[in-house]
Protein backbone atom coordinates (compact mmCIF):
# COMPACT_ATOMS: atom_id res chain seq x y z
CA UNK A 1 0.00 0.00 0.00
CA UNK A 2 1.43 3.39 -0.91
CA UNK A 3 2.72 5.42 1.98
CA UNK A 4 3.66 9.04 2.09
CA UNK A 5 7.22 10.33 2.07
CA UNK A 6 8.35 13.77 3.19
CA UNK A 7 10.22 15.77 0.58
CA UNK A 8 10.46 19.40 1.75
CA UNK A 9 10.09 21.30 5.02
CA UNK A 10 10.31 24.75 6.57
CA UNK A 11 9.78 26.07 10.07
CA UNK A 12 8.54 29.51 10.96
CA UNK A 13 9.24 29.25 14.68
CA UNK A 14 10.28 26.87 17.43
CA UNK A 15 6.69 25.64 17.47
CA UNK A 16 5.47 25.66 13.86
CA UNK A 17 6.67 23.35 11.11
CA UNK A 18 5.42 22.82 7.56
CA UNK A 19 6.15 19.65 5.59
CA UNK A 20 5.37 18.63 2.05
CA UNK A 21 4.95 14.97 1.12
CA UNK A 22 4.49 12.85 -1.97
CA UNK A 23 1.74 10.29 -1.73
CA UNK A 24 3.59 7.18 -2.82
CA UNK A 25 7.13 6.64 -1.60
CA UNK A 26 7.65 3.73 -4.01
CA UNK A 27 7.03 5.73 -7.18
CA UNK A 28 10.22 7.50 -8.17
CA UNK A 29 8.23 9.35 -10.79
CA UNK A 30 6.32 11.07 -8.01
CA UNK A 31 8.82 13.81 -8.70
CA UNK A 32 6.64 14.61 -11.71
CA UNK A 33 3.28 14.47 -10.12
CA UNK A 34 1.63 17.78 -9.32
CA UNK A 35 0.15 16.21 -6.21
CA UNK A 36 1.51 17.25 -2.84
CA UNK A 37 0.10 16.77 0.63
CA UNK A 38 1.19 19.62 2.84
CA UNK A 39 1.09 19.36 6.62
CA UNK A 40 1.42 22.00 9.28
CA UNK A 41 2.36 21.02 12.81
CA UNK A 42 1.73 23.20 15.86
CA UNK A 43 3.80 21.94 18.75
CA UNK A 44 1.99 23.86 21.46
CA UNK A 45 -1.48 22.73 20.50
CA UNK A 46 -3.12 20.01 22.58
CA UNK A 47 -2.82 16.44 21.27
CA UNK A 48 -5.31 15.78 18.52
CA UNK A 49 -5.20 19.39 17.39
CA UNK A 50 -1.60 19.64 16.28
CA UNK A 51 -1.79 18.59 12.63
CA UNK A 52 -3.36 20.44 9.71
CA UNK A 53 -3.37 19.22 6.15
CA UNK A 54 -4.11 20.49 2.67
CA UNK A 55 -3.54 19.02 -0.81
CA UNK A 56 -2.00 21.07 -3.60
CA UNK A 57 -1.81 20.34 -7.32
CA UNK A 58 1.88 21.17 -7.27
CA UNK A 59 5.12 19.30 -7.43
CA UNK A 60 6.46 21.14 -4.40
CA UNK A 61 10.15 21.98 -4.77
CA UNK A 62 10.51 24.37 -1.87
CA UNK A 63 8.74 25.82 1.14
CA UNK A 64 9.75 29.27 2.31
CA UNK A 65 8.75 31.57 5.13
CA UNK A 66 8.24 35.01 3.66
CA UNK A 67 7.06 38.40 4.86
CA UNK A 68 4.90 40.29 2.37
CA UNK A 69 2.22 42.37 4.12
CA UNK A 70 0.53 43.38 0.87
CA UNK A 71 0.03 39.73 -0.05
CA UNK A 72 -1.17 38.65 3.38
CA UNK A 73 -2.56 41.57 5.39
CA UNK A 74 -3.91 39.40 8.18
CA UNK A 75 -0.70 37.46 8.67
CA UNK A 76 2.26 39.31 7.16
CA UNK A 77 4.71 36.46 7.83
CA UNK A 78 3.54 33.24 6.20
CA UNK A 79 4.49 30.09 4.31
CA UNK A 80 4.80 29.93 0.53
CA UNK A 81 5.16 26.87 -1.70
CA UNK A 82 7.11 26.71 -4.94
CA UNK A 83 5.97 24.27 -7.64
CA UNK A 84 8.40 22.82 -10.19
CA UNK A 85 6.58 24.48 -13.07
CA UNK A 86 6.85 27.96 -11.62
CA UNK A 87 3.73 28.15 -9.49
CA UNK A 88 4.10 30.12 -6.25
CA UNK A 89 1.34 29.41 -3.74
CA UNK A 90 1.04 31.86 -0.87
CA UNK A 91 -0.63 30.47 2.24
CA UNK A 92 -1.71 33.98 3.02
CA UNK A 93 -4.53 35.44 5.11
CA UNK A 94 -7.35 36.13 4.74
CA UNK A 95 -7.15 34.31 1.39
CA UNK A 96 -4.65 32.06 -0.27
CA UNK A 97 -3.16 33.39 -3.43
CA UNK A 98 -1.22 31.84 -6.30
CA UNK A 99 1.05 33.29 -8.96
CA UNK A 100 2.73 31.80 -12.02
CA UNK A 101 6.23 32.58 -13.22
CA UNK A 102 5.89 33.01 -16.95
CA UNK A 103 8.25 30.82 -18.99
CA UNK A 104 9.43 28.60 -16.13
CA UNK A 105 9.18 24.82 -16.01
CA UNK A 106 8.85 22.30 -18.80
CA UNK A 107 5.17 21.41 -18.99
CA UNK A 108 3.19 24.62 -18.82
CA UNK A 109 1.85 26.06 -22.08
CA UNK A 110 4.08 29.12 -21.70
CA UNK A 111 7.16 27.14 -20.73
CA UNK A 112 10.44 27.96 -22.42
CA UNK A 113 11.77 24.55 -21.42
CA UNK A 114 14.65 25.84 -19.34
CA UNK A 115 13.72 23.25 -16.72
CA UNK A 116 12.12 23.09 -13.30
CA UNK A 117 12.50 25.80 -10.70
CA UNK A 118 13.84 24.60 -7.38
CA UNK A 119 14.21 27.30 -4.75
CA UNK A 120 12.20 30.23 -3.38
CA UNK A 121 13.79 32.80 -1.08
CA UNK A 122 13.02 36.25 0.29
CA UNK A 123 16.02 38.56 0.39
CA UNK A 124 15.39 42.07 1.61
CA UNK A 125 11.92 42.97 0.43
CA UNK A 126 12.00 40.86 -2.71
CA UNK A 127 11.26 37.26 -3.58
CA UNK A 128 13.61 35.24 -5.77
CA UNK A 129 13.19 31.93 -7.55
CA UNK A 130 16.02 29.95 -9.11
CA UNK A 131 16.34 26.64 -10.92
CA UNK A 132 17.61 24.59 -13.84
CA UNK A 133 18.85 26.21 -17.03
CA UNK A 134 20.38 29.19 -15.22
CA UNK A 135 16.94 30.52 -14.28
CA UNK A 136 16.92 33.43 -11.80
CA UNK A 137 13.61 35.25 -11.32
CA UNK A 138 12.72 38.21 -9.13
CA UNK A 139 9.25 39.31 -8.11
CA UNK A 140 8.70 42.93 -9.03
CA UNK A 141 5.10 43.13 -7.87
CA UNK A 142 1.79 41.27 -7.82
CA UNK A 143 1.83 38.59 -10.55
CA UNK A 144 4.96 40.18 -11.93
CA UNK A 145 7.93 37.81 -11.98
CA UNK A 146 10.83 38.65 -14.26
CA UNK A 147 14.14 37.14 -15.28
CA UNK A 148 16.81 38.85 -13.15
CA UNK A 149 19.46 38.33 -15.79
CA UNK A 150 19.81 36.21 -18.90
CA UNK A 151 23.60 36.10 -18.51
CA UNK A 152 23.71 32.35 -17.99
CA UNK A 153 20.28 31.43 -19.27
CA UNK A 154 20.32 28.14 -21.17
CA UNK A 155 19.54 28.32 -24.88
CA UNK A 156 17.12 25.44 -25.12
CA UNK A 157 16.24 26.02 -28.74
CA UNK A 158 19.84 25.81 -29.92
CA UNK A 159 20.39 22.83 -27.68
CA UNK A 160 17.42 20.97 -29.15
CA UNK A 161 18.53 21.66 -32.71
CA UNK A 162 21.98 20.37 -31.95
CA UNK A 163 20.64 17.29 -30.23
CA UNK A 164 18.44 16.49 -33.22
CA UNK A 165 21.42 16.69 -35.57
CA UNK A 166 23.50 14.18 -33.63
CA UNK A 167 24.71 10.96 -35.24
CA UNK A 168 23.13 7.74 -34.03
CA UNK A 169 24.42 6.69 -30.65
CA UNK A 170 25.76 3.40 -31.96
CA UNK A 171 27.65 4.97 -34.85
CA UNK A 172 31.47 5.14 -34.59
CA UNK A 173 31.37 8.93 -34.81
CA UNK A 174 29.05 9.40 -31.90
CA UNK A 175 31.47 9.55 -28.98
CA UNK A 176 33.71 12.08 -30.67
CA UNK A 177 30.69 14.20 -31.60
CA UNK A 178 29.35 13.92 -28.07
CA UNK A 179 32.62 14.94 -26.45
CA UNK A 180 33.29 17.92 -28.69
CA UNK A 181 29.78 19.24 -29.26
CA UNK A 182 28.10 18.51 -25.99
CA UNK A 183 30.11 17.47 -22.98
CA UNK A 184 32.95 19.93 -23.36
CA UNK A 185 31.19 22.69 -25.24
CA UNK A 186 30.80 25.91 -23.22
CA UNK A 187 27.73 26.80 -25.32
CA UNK A 188 25.98 23.70 -23.96
CA UNK A 189 26.30 24.75 -20.31
CA UNK A 190 23.10 24.06 -18.45
CA UNK A 191 23.59 25.49 -14.98
CA UNK A 192 21.48 24.17 -12.14
CA UNK A 193 21.05 26.85 -9.48
CA UNK A 194 20.22 25.38 -6.08
CA UNK A 195 20.45 28.17 -3.50
CA UNK A 196 20.46 31.94 -3.32
CA UNK A 197 21.28 34.15 -0.33
CA UNK A 198 22.22 37.73 0.33
CA UNK A 199 22.36 40.46 2.91
CA UNK A 200 20.75 42.85 0.45
CA UNK A 201 19.23 42.79 -3.01
CA UNK A 202 22.49 44.16 -4.41
CA UNK A 203 24.73 41.51 -2.92
CA UNK A 204 23.43 38.07 -3.84
CA UNK A 205 25.28 34.79 -3.89
CA UNK A 206 23.81 32.05 -6.09
CA UNK A 207 25.27 28.56 -6.12
CA UNK A 208 24.80 25.32 -7.99
CA UNK A 209 26.53 23.18 -10.53
CA UNK A 210 26.98 22.49 -14.20
CA UNK A 211 27.50 19.17 -15.97
CA UNK A 212 28.88 16.92 -17.13
CA UNK A 213 29.67 15.59 -13.73
CA UNK A 214 29.31 18.25 -11.13
CA UNK A 215 31.40 21.33 -11.74
CA UNK A 216 30.76 23.92 -9.05
CA UNK A 217 29.10 27.19 -9.97
CA UNK A 218 29.08 30.21 -7.67
CA UNK A 219 27.80 33.56 -8.88
CA UNK A 220 27.51 37.02 -7.38
CA UNK A 221 24.91 39.61 -8.31
CA UNK A 222 25.83 43.20 -7.47
CA UNK A 223 22.55 44.71 -8.61
CA UNK A 224 23.65 45.14 -12.22
CA UNK A 225 25.76 42.23 -13.40
CA UNK A 226 26.21 38.58 -12.65
CA UNK A 227 29.78 37.61 -11.91
CA UNK A 228 30.93 33.99 -11.85
CA UNK A 229 33.30 33.54 -8.92
CA UNK A 230 36.25 31.20 -8.88
CA UNK A 231 35.79 27.99 -6.91
CA UNK A 232 38.98 26.07 -6.12
CA UNK A 233 37.42 22.66 -6.69
CA UNK A 234 37.26 20.54 -9.82
CA UNK A 235 34.10 18.77 -8.79
CA UNK A 236 31.33 19.79 -6.43
CA UNK A 237 27.62 20.32 -6.33
CA UNK A 238 26.94 23.42 -4.26
CA UNK A 239 23.61 23.14 -2.48
CA UNK A 240 23.44 25.64 0.39
CA UNK A 241 24.63 29.14 1.34
CA UNK A 242 24.83 30.80 4.74
CA UNK A 243 25.90 34.40 5.08
CA UNK A 244 27.37 35.00 8.50
CA UNK A 245 28.59 38.48 7.58
CA UNK A 246 29.76 40.26 4.43
CA UNK A 247 33.23 38.79 4.98
CA UNK A 248 32.15 35.33 6.03
CA UNK A 249 30.06 33.29 3.64
CA UNK A 250 29.64 29.52 3.99
CA UNK A 251 28.73 27.17 1.17
CA UNK A 252 28.08 23.44 1.34
CA UNK A 253 27.12 20.61 -0.97
CA UNK A 254 27.65 17.06 -2.10
CA UNK A 255 30.79 15.02 -1.42
CA UNK A 256 31.17 16.71 1.95
CA UNK A 257 32.11 20.02 0.40
CA UNK A 258 32.26 23.08 2.66
CA UNK A 259 33.63 26.38 1.35
CA UNK A 260 34.31 29.54 3.30
CA UNK A 261 35.18 33.04 2.15
CA UNK A 262 33.59 35.95 0.37
CA UNK A 263 33.54 37.56 -3.00
CA UNK A 264 36.24 40.00 -1.87
CA UNK A 265 38.70 37.49 -0.47
CA UNK A 266 37.79 34.39 -2.45
CA UNK A 267 36.60 30.98 -1.29
CA UNK A 268 38.56 28.06 0.11
CA UNK A 269 37.57 24.55 1.14
CA UNK A 270 37.29 23.87 4.84
CA UNK A 271 39.70 21.09 5.64
CA UNK A 272 37.71 18.72 7.82
CA UNK A 273 36.60 15.13 7.97
CA UNK A 274 33.27 15.56 6.24
CA UNK A 275 33.24 12.15 4.54
CA UNK A 276 31.03 12.16 1.45
CA UNK A 277 27.95 13.68 3.04
CA UNK A 278 25.41 15.49 0.94
CA UNK A 279 25.05 18.65 3.00
CA UNK A 280 21.77 20.30 2.02
CA UNK A 281 22.26 23.60 3.82
CA UNK A 282 23.05 25.40 7.05
CA UNK A 283 21.21 26.57 10.09
CA UNK A 284 22.82 28.64 12.80
CA UNK A 285 22.77 27.11 16.29
CA UNK A 286 24.66 28.49 19.30
CA UNK A 287 28.29 28.88 18.22
CA UNK A 288 28.02 26.58 15.25
CA UNK A 289 26.34 25.82 11.97
CA UNK A 290 24.28 22.65 11.66
CA UNK A 291 24.14 20.78 8.35
CA UNK A 292 21.56 18.11 7.54
CA UNK A 293 22.85 15.34 5.27
CA UNK A 294 20.48 12.79 3.75
CA UNK A 295 23.11 10.43 2.36
CA UNK A 296 26.76 9.27 2.33
CA UNK A 297 26.44 8.48 5.20
CA UNK A 298 23.96 11.17 6.24
CA UNK A 299 22.99 12.51 9.63
CA UNK A 300 22.97 15.86 11.38
CA UNK A 301 26.42 17.43 11.38
CA UNK A 302 27.87 20.38 13.23
CA UNK A 303 30.49 22.85 12.04
CA UNK A 304 32.22 24.60 14.93
CA UNK A 305 32.68 28.24 13.91
CA UNK A 306 35.73 28.67 16.13
CA UNK A 307 37.74 25.67 15.05
CA UNK A 308 36.04 24.79 11.73
CA UNK A 309 35.88 21.21 13.01
CA UNK A 310 33.05 19.10 11.66
CA UNK A 311 31.45 16.38 13.75
CA UNK A 312 28.15 14.67 14.25
CA UNK A 313 25.70 16.68 16.29
CA UNK A 314 25.52 15.42 19.85
CA UNK A 315 23.27 14.09 21.16
CA UNK A 316 22.73 12.14 18.00
CA UNK A 317 19.43 12.01 16.22
CA UNK A 318 17.33 8.99 17.11
CA UNK A 319 17.42 6.22 14.54
CA UNK A 320 15.42 6.92 11.42
CA UNK A 321 12.41 4.98 10.30
CA UNK A 322 12.97 2.83 7.27
CA UNK A 323 11.35 3.32 3.92
CA UNK A 324 9.11 0.40 3.10
CA UNK A 325 10.45 0.41 -0.44
CA UNK A 326 14.11 0.54 0.54
CA UNK A 327 14.96 -0.50 4.08
CA UNK A 328 18.59 0.52 3.60
CA UNK A 329 17.55 4.13 3.71
CA UNK A 330 17.35 3.84 7.46
CA UNK A 331 21.04 4.58 7.32
CA UNK A 332 20.53 8.02 5.79
CA UNK A 333 19.76 11.26 7.53
CA UNK A 334 17.61 14.37 7.46
CA UNK A 335 17.31 16.57 4.39
CA UNK A 336 16.16 19.49 6.51
CA UNK A 337 17.23 21.16 9.74
CA UNK A 338 16.35 24.55 11.10
CA UNK A 339 17.08 26.10 14.48
CA UNK A 340 15.26 28.73 16.52
CA UNK A 341 17.23 29.57 19.64
CA UNK A 342 18.02 26.26 21.27
CA UNK A 343 15.27 24.42 19.44
CA UNK A 344 16.14 22.40 16.32
CA UNK A 345 13.76 20.87 13.79
CA UNK A 346 14.99 17.98 11.66
CA UNK A 347 13.02 16.18 8.96
CA UNK A 348 13.92 13.03 7.01
CA UNK A 349 11.94 10.89 4.56
CA UNK A 350 9.80 9.33 7.28
CA UNK A 351 10.80 11.20 10.42
CA UNK A 352 10.28 14.45 12.22
CA UNK A 353 12.40 15.36 15.23
CA UNK A 354 12.48 18.33 17.57
CA UNK A 355 15.39 19.09 19.87
CA UNK A 356 14.43 21.22 22.86
CA UNK A 357 17.99 22.13 23.84
CA UNK A 358 18.46 19.00 25.92
CA UNK A 359 17.05 16.02 24.07
CA UNK A 360 15.40 14.89 20.87
CA UNK A 361 11.71 14.22 20.61
CA UNK A 362 10.23 12.14 17.81
CA UNK A 363 7.14 13.91 16.50
CA UNK A 364 4.45 11.41 15.69
CA UNK A 365 2.83 11.89 12.32
CA UNK A 366 -0.76 10.72 11.93
CA UNK A 367 -0.16 8.99 8.58
CA UNK A 368 2.91 7.05 9.63
CA UNK A 369 3.31 4.18 12.08
Amino acid sequence: MPTIMFTRAAASSADTLMISAVLDEDNDEAIYQPAARVFQYEHKNPPGEQWFVSDFALSVQDIAVIEQPEVSPDRPRFFALLGAEGDVAYLSRPDRHQEMIEGAGTSNPGSKFYGQVLTLRQIGQRLYVIGIGGQIYVRKGPDDWRILTDAVLFDRQADTQQLMSAPDMDSPDFLEWWESNRLNNPASRNIIFRDIAGLSEDALYICGEVGPGAKPVLCYWDGRTLEELKVPLEEATLAGIHIESPDSVWICGREGVILHGSRARGFNPVNADTRLNLFHGFTSWRDSLLMPASVRPGGLWRLDLQSNAVSRFEPRLPKLNRLDSNPEYALGGPFFAQAFGDVIWAVADKDIFRFDGQQWERIKHPDLP
Binding site: E29, S107, F113, I132, T237, S294, L317, L331
Partner: protein, 279 residues
Protein backbone atom coordinates in the same frame (compact mmCIF):
# COMPACT_ATOMS: atom_id res chain seq x y z
CA UNK B 1 5.71 -6.36 21.42
CA UNK B 2 4.17 -9.53 20.03
CA UNK B 3 3.90 -9.77 16.31
CA UNK B 4 0.62 -11.02 14.84
CA UNK B 5 0.63 -14.50 13.32
CA UNK B 6 0.95 -14.68 9.52
CA UNK B 7 -2.33 -14.17 7.74
CA UNK B 8 -1.13 -15.45 4.40
CA UNK B 9 0.26 -18.87 3.61
CA UNK B 10 3.89 -19.10 2.67
CA UNK B 11 4.51 -19.26 -1.06
CA UNK B 12 4.58 -22.85 -2.21
CA UNK B 13 7.69 -24.41 -3.62
CA UNK B 14 10.36 -22.94 -1.39
CA UNK B 15 9.05 -24.31 1.86
CA UNK B 16 10.26 -27.84 1.22
CA UNK B 17 13.61 -26.45 0.13
CA UNK B 18 13.88 -24.59 3.39
CA UNK B 19 13.23 -27.75 5.32
CA UNK B 20 15.77 -29.66 3.33
CA UNK B 21 18.41 -26.94 3.40
CA UNK B 22 17.64 -26.19 6.99
CA UNK B 23 18.47 -29.68 8.15
CA UNK B 24 21.44 -29.88 5.89
CA UNK B 25 22.55 -26.40 6.82
CA UNK B 26 22.20 -27.08 10.52
CA UNK B 27 24.54 -30.02 10.25
CA UNK B 28 27.01 -27.98 8.28
CA UNK B 29 26.68 -25.11 10.68
CA UNK B 30 27.62 -27.33 13.55
CA UNK B 31 31.00 -27.82 11.91
CA UNK B 32 31.90 -24.32 10.76
CA UNK B 33 29.80 -22.21 13.06
CA UNK B 34 28.03 -19.05 11.99
CA UNK B 35 30.29 -16.69 10.15
CA UNK B 36 29.68 -13.25 8.82
CA UNK B 37 29.93 -13.24 5.05
CA UNK B 38 32.29 -10.83 3.39
CA UNK B 39 31.82 -9.17 0.00
CA UNK B 40 31.96 -11.95 -2.53
CA UNK B 41 32.23 -12.76 -6.18
CA UNK B 42 30.49 -9.84 -7.80
CA UNK B 43 31.38 -7.60 -4.88
CA UNK B 44 27.85 -7.49 -3.50
CA UNK B 45 26.51 -8.63 -0.20
CA UNK B 46 23.75 -11.19 0.11
CA UNK B 47 20.24 -9.91 0.74
CA UNK B 48 20.18 -11.30 4.27
CA UNK B 49 23.46 -9.72 5.34
CA UNK B 50 22.00 -6.69 7.09
CA UNK B 51 19.63 -8.80 9.10
CA UNK B 52 22.40 -10.81 10.73
CA UNK B 53 22.33 -8.07 13.34
CA UNK B 54 18.60 -7.44 13.23
CA UNK B 55 16.89 -6.81 16.56
CA UNK B 56 14.05 -8.97 15.22
CA UNK B 57 14.85 -12.54 16.35
CA UNK B 58 13.00 -14.03 13.37
CA UNK B 59 14.93 -11.98 10.83
CA UNK B 60 18.17 -12.69 12.65
CA UNK B 61 17.59 -16.43 12.84
CA UNK B 62 16.48 -16.61 9.22
CA UNK B 63 19.51 -14.62 8.10
CA UNK B 64 21.81 -16.84 10.13
CA UNK B 65 20.25 -19.90 8.53
CA UNK B 66 20.73 -18.51 5.05
CA UNK B 67 24.28 -17.48 5.86
CA UNK B 68 25.17 -20.89 7.20
CA UNK B 69 23.86 -22.74 4.16
CA UNK B 70 25.45 -20.24 1.86
CA UNK B 71 28.89 -20.73 3.32
CA UNK B 72 28.62 -24.41 2.58
CA UNK B 73 27.55 -23.87 -1.00
CA UNK B 74 27.86 -20.33 -2.42
CA UNK B 75 26.23 -21.45 -5.66
CA UNK B 76 22.93 -21.57 -3.80
CA UNK B 77 22.95 -17.83 -3.29
CA UNK B 78 20.22 -16.92 -5.81
CA UNK B 79 17.87 -19.52 -4.41
CA UNK B 80 18.72 -18.60 -0.87
CA UNK B 81 18.03 -14.96 -1.58
CA UNK B 82 14.70 -15.89 -3.09
CA UNK B 83 13.85 -18.06 -0.12
CA UNK B 84 14.99 -15.41 2.31
CA UNK B 85 12.91 -12.76 0.58
CA UNK B 86 9.87 -14.99 0.79
CA UNK B 87 10.44 -15.68 4.44
CA UNK B 88 10.69 -12.08 5.55
CA UNK B 89 8.35 -10.55 2.98
CA UNK B 90 5.51 -8.72 4.62
CA UNK B 91 7.13 -9.03 7.98
CA UNK B 92 7.22 -5.67 9.72
CA UNK B 93 10.61 -4.09 10.09
CA UNK B 94 11.64 -3.87 13.71
CA UNK B 95 10.39 -0.71 15.33
CA UNK B 96 13.18 1.82 15.55
CA UNK B 97 14.42 2.51 19.00
CA UNK B 98 13.49 5.86 20.39
CA UNK B 99 16.67 6.09 22.32
CA UNK B 100 19.64 7.91 20.96
CA UNK B 101 22.07 5.93 18.87
CA UNK B 102 25.12 5.63 21.09
CA UNK B 103 27.39 3.44 19.09
CA UNK B 104 30.92 3.13 20.37
CA UNK B 105 33.30 5.52 18.70
CA UNK B 106 36.43 3.42 19.00
CA UNK B 107 35.45 0.91 16.31
CA UNK B 108 34.40 1.63 12.75
CA UNK B 109 30.73 2.47 12.75
CA UNK B 110 28.46 0.68 10.29
CA UNK B 111 27.90 3.72 8.12
CA UNK B 112 31.66 3.94 7.52
CA UNK B 113 31.69 0.38 6.35
CA UNK B 114 28.67 0.88 4.18
CA UNK B 115 29.98 4.06 2.58
CA UNK B 116 33.20 2.26 1.69
CA UNK B 117 31.31 -0.69 0.23
CA UNK B 118 29.11 1.64 -1.73
CA UNK B 119 31.97 3.68 -3.13
CA UNK B 120 33.74 0.53 -4.26
CA UNK B 121 30.59 -0.71 -5.90
CA UNK B 122 29.93 2.60 -7.68
CA UNK B 123 33.25 2.30 -9.48
CA UNK B 124 31.88 -0.69 -11.35
CA UNK B 125 29.32 1.46 -13.20
CA UNK B 126 26.98 -1.50 -13.41
CA UNK B 127 24.06 -0.96 -15.80
CA UNK B 128 21.39 -3.63 -16.12
CA UNK B 129 17.65 -4.20 -16.20
CA UNK B 130 15.64 -2.24 -13.65
CA UNK B 131 14.39 -5.46 -12.06
CA UNK B 132 17.99 -6.51 -11.44
CA UNK B 133 19.33 -3.14 -10.37
CA UNK B 134 16.50 -2.40 -7.99
CA UNK B 135 17.70 -5.11 -5.63
CA UNK B 136 21.38 -4.43 -6.08
CA UNK B 137 21.05 -0.69 -5.59
CA UNK B 138 18.91 -1.15 -2.50
CA UNK B 139 21.58 -3.34 -1.01
CA UNK B 140 24.02 -0.44 -1.20
CA UNK B 141 21.59 2.17 0.07
CA UNK B 142 21.00 3.57 -3.42
CA UNK B 143 18.08 3.57 -5.82
CA UNK B 144 17.80 2.25 -9.35
CA UNK B 145 17.16 4.90 -11.97
CA UNK B 146 15.82 4.29 -15.47
CA UNK B 147 18.28 5.87 -17.89
CA UNK B 148 15.60 6.31 -20.56
CA UNK B 149 12.65 7.67 -18.57
CA UNK B 150 9.94 5.09 -18.17
CA UNK B 151 7.24 7.71 -18.81
CA UNK B 152 8.47 8.15 -22.41
CA UNK B 153 7.76 4.47 -23.12
CA UNK B 154 4.07 4.44 -22.25
CA UNK B 155 0.92 6.45 -22.86
CA UNK B 156 -0.83 5.34 -19.68
CA UNK B 157 0.04 5.29 -16.03
CA UNK B 158 3.18 3.73 -14.60
CA UNK B 159 1.54 0.60 -13.30
CA UNK B 160 -0.75 -0.05 -16.25
CA UNK B 161 1.19 -2.53 -18.32
CA UNK B 162 -1.46 -2.54 -21.04
CA UNK B 163 -0.75 1.03 -22.05
CA UNK B 164 2.86 0.72 -23.04
CA UNK B 165 4.22 1.66 -26.45
CA UNK B 166 4.76 -1.47 -28.55
CA UNK B 167 8.26 -2.86 -29.04
CA UNK B 168 9.62 -0.86 -26.11
CA UNK B 169 11.17 -2.26 -22.91
CA UNK B 170 8.88 -2.87 -19.96
CA UNK B 171 9.21 -1.07 -16.64
CA UNK B 172 11.33 -3.93 -15.34
CA UNK B 173 13.41 -4.33 -18.51
CA UNK B 174 14.46 -0.70 -18.91
CA UNK B 175 18.19 -0.15 -18.41
CA UNK B 176 18.99 1.31 -15.01
CA UNK B 177 21.93 2.44 -12.91
CA UNK B 178 22.30 3.10 -9.18
CA UNK B 179 22.08 6.70 -8.00
CA UNK B 180 22.25 8.28 -4.59
CA UNK B 181 19.22 9.54 -2.76
CA UNK B 182 15.52 9.73 -3.46
CA UNK B 183 14.29 11.18 -6.74
CA UNK B 184 11.96 13.53 -4.93
CA UNK B 185 14.60 14.77 -2.51
CA UNK B 186 16.37 17.97 -3.41
CA UNK B 187 20.06 18.14 -4.25
CA UNK B 188 20.41 14.40 -4.66
CA UNK B 189 22.04 12.64 -7.57
CA UNK B 190 18.77 10.82 -8.24
CA UNK B 191 16.85 14.07 -8.37
CA UNK B 192 19.34 15.48 -10.86
CA UNK B 193 19.13 12.36 -13.01
CA UNK B 194 15.54 13.33 -13.83
CA UNK B 195 16.53 16.63 -15.37
CA UNK B 196 16.38 15.23 -18.93
CA UNK B 197 12.70 16.10 -18.98
CA UNK B 198 13.22 19.59 -20.28
CA UNK B 199 15.21 18.35 -23.26
CA UNK B 200 12.67 15.68 -24.16
CA UNK B 201 9.68 17.95 -23.72
CA UNK B 202 11.33 20.64 -25.82
CA UNK B 203 11.69 18.15 -28.67
CA UNK B 204 8.00 17.29 -28.41
CA UNK B 205 6.86 20.89 -28.41
CA UNK B 206 6.63 21.27 -32.19
CA UNK B 207 6.36 17.63 -33.13
CA UNK B 208 3.72 15.94 -35.25
CA UNK B 209 1.73 14.42 -33.68
CA UNK B 210 2.16 16.80 -30.73
CA UNK B 211 4.23 15.78 -27.74
CA UNK B 212 6.12 12.98 -29.43
CA UNK B 213 9.83 12.41 -30.02
CA UNK B 214 11.71 9.68 -31.84
CA UNK B 215 13.44 6.84 -30.06
CA UNK B 216 16.78 8.17 -31.28
CA UNK B 217 16.32 11.65 -29.83
CA UNK B 218 14.88 10.45 -26.51
CA UNK B 219 17.69 7.97 -26.03
CA UNK B 220 20.30 10.62 -26.80
CA UNK B 221 18.77 13.24 -24.52
CA UNK B 222 18.28 10.89 -21.61
CA UNK B 223 21.67 9.25 -21.97
CA UNK B 224 23.25 12.66 -21.95
CA UNK B 225 21.41 13.65 -18.78
CA UNK B 226 22.60 10.45 -17.14
CA UNK B 227 26.17 11.03 -18.25
CA UNK B 228 25.97 14.50 -16.79
CA UNK B 229 25.35 12.85 -13.43
CA UNK B 230 27.79 9.95 -13.84
CA UNK B 231 30.42 10.97 -16.42
CA UNK B 232 32.67 8.19 -15.13
CA UNK B 233 30.11 5.68 -16.41
CA UNK B 234 29.61 7.12 -19.87
CA UNK B 235 30.90 4.05 -21.71
CA UNK B 236 28.69 1.65 -19.76
CA UNK B 237 25.64 3.89 -20.15
CA UNK B 238 26.12 4.17 -23.88
CA UNK B 239 26.75 0.45 -24.31
CA UNK B 240 23.65 -0.49 -22.33
CA UNK B 241 21.21 1.82 -24.05
CA UNK B 242 22.51 1.18 -27.53
CA UNK B 243 22.38 -2.53 -26.75
CA UNK B 244 18.75 -2.19 -25.76
CA UNK B 245 17.54 0.30 -28.35
CA UNK B 246 19.98 -0.40 -31.20
CA UNK B 247 17.76 -3.12 -32.59
CA UNK B 248 14.68 -0.96 -32.42
CA UNK B 249 13.51 1.50 -35.04
CA UNK B 250 15.16 4.82 -34.14
CA UNK B 251 12.28 6.67 -35.78
CA UNK B 252 9.53 5.09 -33.72
CA UNK B 253 7.65 7.72 -31.76
CA UNK B 254 7.77 7.96 -27.98
CA UNK B 255 5.91 10.16 -25.53
CA UNK B 256 7.45 13.59 -24.93
CA UNK B 257 5.05 15.14 -22.42
CA UNK B 258 5.32 14.10 -18.83
CA UNK B 259 1.97 15.18 -17.52
CA UNK B 260 -1.33 13.94 -18.91
CA UNK B 261 -3.54 14.46 -20.78
CA UNK B 262 -2.19 13.53 -24.19
CA UNK B 263 -4.16 14.44 -27.33
CA UNK B 264 -6.06 11.53 -28.86
CA UNK B 265 -4.02 11.61 -32.07
CA UNK B 266 -0.85 11.27 -29.97
CA UNK B 267 -2.25 8.32 -28.02
CA UNK B 268 -3.33 6.70 -31.30
CA UNK B 269 0.15 7.10 -32.80
CA UNK B 270 1.93 5.81 -29.70
CA UNK B 271 -0.42 2.87 -29.30
CA UNK B 272 0.09 1.78 -32.91
CA UNK B 273 3.88 2.04 -32.77
CA UNK B 274 3.93 4.80 -35.38
CA UNK B 275 7.24 6.02 -36.79
CA UNK B 276 8.42 9.43 -37.91
CA UNK B 277 7.29 10.92 -40.23
CA UNK B 278 3.69 9.95 -39.65
CA UNK B 279 1.93 9.78 -43.03
Amino acid sequence: MCLPPPTLPKPEGLGPKLLRWGKWGARFGAVVGILTPSPLGDGTLPDWYRDLNSPDPFRRRTAEEASRIYRGNPALRPELEEWYGDEVRGRPQPAPADDVDERPRAVPVPDNVRVTEREEYRKKCQVDRYAVMRNICGRYGMQAHHIVPNWTLRYGTRNDGSQRIPSMPSLNDGMAICVMGNATEKDTEHNQAHFADGAIEAIGKNATPPYTATVGSVVRASSEAMVAVRPDCRAQIRAAVTGQFGTRNPNQLLRAKRLPPLPQETVTALRSGATYPVP
